[in-house]
């Protein structure tokens, strides 16, 4: 196997989902542009170019409202599964391991291995930060995406309001507006549904070969076992 083919195979999960993301984002832009222009045309206003739509608040809010909920989902999942358990689920850790676990189990500080990340072997703040870096990044991306949703959301909301001959509102007013919370909560509920159903379905159902599933022959009682 050549080095290039090996790289593609070894990173296929990230590459395929990354490419899928770009393709679907492009599809969303094309469909969103057509929908936006349909509204403008119906109101006898001039349609916007594709490039103009990509820079519009309408497109930005539709993108960021989904981003924030996805990052929230992963933040809650990463953080929540430290403590929350589901008997029989491969998404859960073993039932006696609830909590941050011992240094030995986590291979940090004096228990770090030669191939452990350097900051896992470090002491103090660096180790504490690195030990929470995945959740911290997801939480940061969630907060930034949610902030971006609110900023682009108020612009899109006000643009539509002006088309409907209504007064624009401030960013602070928008944070309490039904539009902001409708966009936010419709995404949160779907993410929580997906996580909750995955946790319980994976107790009883299997997907052969997937690390998200238990081995096909594993007991329904087996917890924290990945296939």
């Amino acid at each position: 196997m050549t080095r290039d083919r090996s790289f593609l195979r070894d990173n296929s999960l990230t590459l395929v989902f990354g490419a899928g993301f770009l393709l679907t984002l492009a599809g969303q832009a094309i469909a969103g542009h057509a929908d936006f222009n349909n509204q403008l045309t119906a109101e006898e206003l001039h349609p916007v170019s594709f490039g103009g739509y990509l820079l519009s608040a309408d497109f930005a809010v539709d993108v960021t409202e989904n981003w924030q909920s996805e990052y929230l989902q992963f933040f809650l999942y990463i953080f929540g599964t430290v403590w929350l358990l589901q008997r029989g689920s491969p998404e859960s850790k073993q039932l006696h391991k609830a909590g941050p676990e011992s240094d030995a189990e986590q291979k940090v500080g004096q228990y770090a291995k030669p191939d452990s990340p350097r900051w896992a072997a470090a002491q103090g703040a660096r180790q504490a930060w690195y030990a929470r870096s995945l959740g911290t990044l997801m939480c940061t991306l969630f907060l930034l995406s949610w902030l971006a949703q609110s900023v682009t959301g108020v612009a899109a909301y006000n643009e539509q309001h002006l088309r409907e001959l209504q007064a624009p509102i401030s960013w602070f007013d928008y944070l309490g507006a039904a539009d902001f919370w409708s966009r936010t909560l419709q995404n949160w509920q779907s993410e929580l549904l997906a996580v909750g159903s995955m946790a319980i379905f994976s107790v009883y159902l299997r997907q052969r070969g997937s690390p998200e599933s238990k081995p096909v022959g594993a007991s329904h009682e087996a917890t924290g076992v990945e296939g």
């Binding site: 109101e43 006898e44 820079l55 519009s56 899109a156 643009e159 002006l162 001959l165 007064a167």
Partner: protein
């Protein structure tokens, strides 16, 4: 991969800066269009006033009055204003509040056009306007 990430970041920053930099220009454009419309009303230059209207607004005015725009517009009773007080621009839509009137505008290839004028605010409802699109 790093070059691609840097390119995407630069494109996002450029887009944000372009959007911010354009805001002042768009506000000036909307305010200028409103001022020129008000000046044409004061001068009773109906040709210029009608040319400043968005196509949908002009059509609605003519159909409602059953008159050509140049004759229908003076009968609409728009209050000619002197000064622009505030301008709000979001995307391709704008609201311009003058000393005597509130106007709504939309961006067209030839510049900002008036979509509604003679507008009065109503609590919890859209503005009530003397002229507007259909």
């Amino acid at each position: 991969m790093r070059a691609m990430r840097s390119g995407l970041l630069a494109a996002a920053l450029l887009g944000a800066l372009t959007a911010c930099g354009n805001l002042d220009a768009r506000e000036d454009g909307a305010a200028g269009a409103a001022s020129r419309f008000e000046a044409s009303l004061r001068a009773t230059d109906t040709v210029r006033s009608c040319a400043a209207l968005a196509p949908g607004t002009r059509d609605e005015l003519e159909q409602t009055a059953e008159l050509p725009c140049a004759r229908a517009l003076p009968e609409a009773g728009l209050p000619p204003a002197e000064k622009v007080r505030t301008v709000d621009v979001y995307g391709r839509q704008a609201r311009v509040v003058t000393d005597k009137d509130t106007l709504f505008l939309s961006a067209f290839p030839g510049g900002w056009k008036i979509t509604a004028a003679g507008c009065t605010a109503r609590p919890e409802k859209p503005y009530q306007c003397l002229i507007k699109g259909g």
